[in-house]
């Protein structure tokens, strides 16, 4: 139930720059996901908040108190590790009771709290078992119980669902989200799965190579990605990217790629042209329609591969020697080699500077 602030935090391991100049403000009671590919620095950041790593530079604050120099035991955080890290020689009860025992909480108080947490997580019958006798999902709930029993100010979760099978994962996602809302604990959740992050978090901090790419609520990340990386990382199937130049011809602006020319609305064209002429256009698979006859301002292509998903189908279209993916409902028969035209939703196109990857629109 506290605010967590990372102020210009960096972590270097010798020459390796795991985290670089990270600035993050997490609100009280907020559920924030740290999202990114392996090695992007998200787990390192989490461990710094926990106090297991000390930042090479920068400060970490809980509310407005500087906790950078505090060891983990003084920070009142609860953490669930990816491997669960349950003490193998202790029973479930002892695992959960451990933090309380360390604080010398009286015995009956411990008993009450442990049973309360066990009830919350529905693991009461497991209290006398050893971790090796539990399934993955049960172990995970015990780990969660151990983190929650001390009523932490901050809850840290390091890819807690990645060791579970797909079905259980979906169930637990909803569970965790509900639990967090009920307990109102400030939560930081590390994951590489963007679907998980999108469905659970209030805000997502997308990281890559140690640097923060964008920090925003899920819909904003989806609709207004700040750069190429975020745009390509969020959303499945991923956004399509096409390189091209912005050309002005007779007062009208066009996006000119090798294989087609697309006319742009003047204001948009002007804005982009003022920044740069080399751009990358991006559009999401669900924001383009496949039509069977040529219309103005459409892109011609050939059907390459059709992937039926049941409710939707993904159609891979070859344009020149590029392939873009389109998500659409099953409808007209599409056969490989067939000529079709793509009509893009012009209101939902993105443009990025080719040099920097930053978003212009």
């Amino acid at each position: 139930m506290v605010k967590v602030i990372l102020d210009n935090v960096s972590k270097f391991f010798g020459k390796v720059k795991a985290v670089v100049d990270l600035n993050l403000r997490i609100g009280d009671g907020e559920f924030v996901a740290l999202l990114g590919p392996s090695g992007c620095g998200k787990t390192t950041t989490l461990l710094m908040v926990a106090g297991i790593y000390k930042p090479t530079r920068g400060k970490i604050l809980f509310d407005d108190k500087d906790v950078t120099k505090l060891p983990p035991r003084d920070r009142n955080v609860g953490m669930v590790f990816q491997s669960y890290a349950l003490y193998p020689h202790m029973s479930v009860y002892d695992n959960i009771a451990f933090p309380l025992r360390l604080k010398k909480v009286p015995r009956n108080e411990i008993d009450r709290k442990v049973k309360q947490v066990a009830k919350l997580l529905r693991i009461e019958e497991l209290l006398h078992r050893k971790p090796s006798q539990l399934s993955g999902g049960q172990q995970q709930r015990v780990a969660l119980g151990r983190a929650l029993v001390k009523e932490p100010d901050v809850l840290l979760l390091d890819e807690p669902l990645s060791n579970l099978d797909a079905k259980l994962r979906v169930v637990m996602r909803a569970e965790l989200k509900r639990l967090q809302k009920e307990l109102k604990i400030t939560t930081i959740y590390v994951t590489h799965d963007q679907v998980e992050a999108m469905s659970m978090a209030d805000r997502i901090a997308v990281m890559n190579a140690g640097k923060l790419q964008q920090y925003a609520p899920p819909t904003e990340l989806y609709n207004k990605p700040a750069n190429l990386f975020v745009a390509g990382f969020i959303g499945a199937p991923p956004m399509n990217f096409i390189e091209g130049l912005i050309k002005e011809i007779n007062g009208e602006y066009y996006f000119d790629s090798e294989y087609f020319k697309l006319k742009l609305v003047n204001e948009i064209g002007e804005m982009i042209a003022s920044k740069t002429s080399e751009t990358i256009m991006g559009f999401r698979p669900e924001n383009a329609k496949i039509i069977l006859e040529e219309k103005p301002n459409t892109i011609q292509g050939k059907v390459y591969v059709v992937e039926p998903l049941g409710k939707d189908i993904i159609v891979n279209i070859k344009i020149g020697d590029m392939i873009v993916k389109i998500l659409t409902r099953p409808g007209a028969e599409l056969t490989p080699g067939q000529n079709i035209w793509l009509q893009l939703d012009m209101k939902k196109i993105h443009f990025f500077e080719k040099q920097t990857g930053k978003a212009i629109i």
Partner: protein, 327 residues
């Protein structure tokens, strides 16, 4: 023309030299010890025995065991006591002190280089050739030129408590015996325990840190309980080892001029069972080989029983990886 050796035979050709050596150095001697324990072999009938295994000058007898078990040999009880003191004391160093030492070196000390230095230093007594170890200890305890008494005085031990001769006066000689062997034995436990400690997943230690544990609490609640099996292994292995070890004692107490091997050791009350057997065979005037074998045989039997027990308790795999952590 290459010799056509059948597939079945080939392994045995590779194994033959090894098997022969094992029979020569291990199996034959054990069997022979069993036999000799029941004879009255001594320097008197030795030559006859060599010439003819079944010579009638060597008699089968139960006398040796009578001497041992019915205390007809007055020194047997003392040897037993000294051995018991020796084994229990050195065992506590090897199994328990080594545990504390390992936690200190492998967990409390975070700096890899310092940890390495300490570990290598503790290995030095084990790596040094035995006789050199004996040599430097002889120097160390020397009242005039050695450092022991000086260091102890420096540490505040009153002069009155320091002996004239660490070698000769019990209980100082016994303390010395325990310490000398303890230094070598501690590194055994250290090797096993540090390997075990290093194999504890870091996440578990991190989880304990987050749960609020200090380094001491982690040592007490996490590390020590997880080292149960390695500890059992160290205790078992070292018990057997210590029961029959006497080399360092012989090297230090043997060299003393005058009494030869046995003289000083007995007076200093450091003659453990195995050394007693050795002295009866090689140092006594009459070279009582039969009796000495009987003494040895007790240890052989204990050894075999213990080893079989270990195999049953630990199983083959765990004996292979004594540092494996599991619950």
């Amino acid at each position: 023309m290459a010799l056509k050796i059948s597939r079945k035979m080939l392994p045995w050709i590779f194994l033959a030299p090894m098997l022969m050596m094992i029979i020569f150095s291990w199996i034959a001697p054990v069997l022979l010890t069993v036999y000799l324990g029941f004879t009255d072999l001594s320097s008197k009938n030795f030559l006859d025995f060599i010439r003819n295994f079944f010579t009638e000058n060597v008699h089968l007898t139960l006398e040796n065991f009578e001497k041992i078990f019915f205390a007809k040999d007055p020194y047997v009880v003392e040897a037993l006591t000294i051995t018991a003191i020796y084994v229990v004391s050195v065992l506590s160093i090897n199994a328990i002190f080594a545990l504390v030492l390992s936690i200190a070196i492998a967990y409390f000390v975070r700096n890899e280089i310092v940890s390495m230095l300490l570990r290598v230093s503790w290995l030095i007594p084990r790596i040094m050739p035995g006789i050199i170890y004996a040599l430097v200890w002889n120097w160390f305890i020397d009242p005039k030129y050695g450092l022991l008494n000086t260091l102890l005085k420096f540490a505040g031990v009153p002069e009155a408590l320091l002996p004239e001769s660490w070698l000769l006066s019990p209980p100082y000689s016994q303390i010395l015996m325990i310490v000398v062997n303890g230094y070598v034995g501690a590194s055994f436990g250290m090797i096993i325990y540090t390997a075990a400690i290093k194999s504890i997943p870091t996440d578990i230690i991190n989880a304990a840190l987050v749960d609020g544990a200090s380094d001491f609490q982690i040592a007490r609640h996490i590390i020590v309980p997880l080292l149960k099996w390695p500890m059992l292994f160290v205790i078992s292995w070292q018990t057997l080892s210590l029961l029959s070890s006497y080399e360092y004692i012989l090297m230090i107490w043997g060299s003393g001029g005058g009494g030869g091997y046995a003289g000083i050791a007995r007076a200093a009350k450091v003659m453990v069972w195995s050394l007693y057997s050795y002295s009866k065979a090689f140092a006594a005037e009459e070279h009582l080989y039969g009796y000495a074998s009987a003494l040895s045989l007790i240890l052989v039997v204990v050894g075999v029983v213990l080893i079989v027990t270990y195999f049953k308790i630990f199983g083959f795999r765990r004996l292979m990886e004594p540092s494996r952590i599991e619950v």
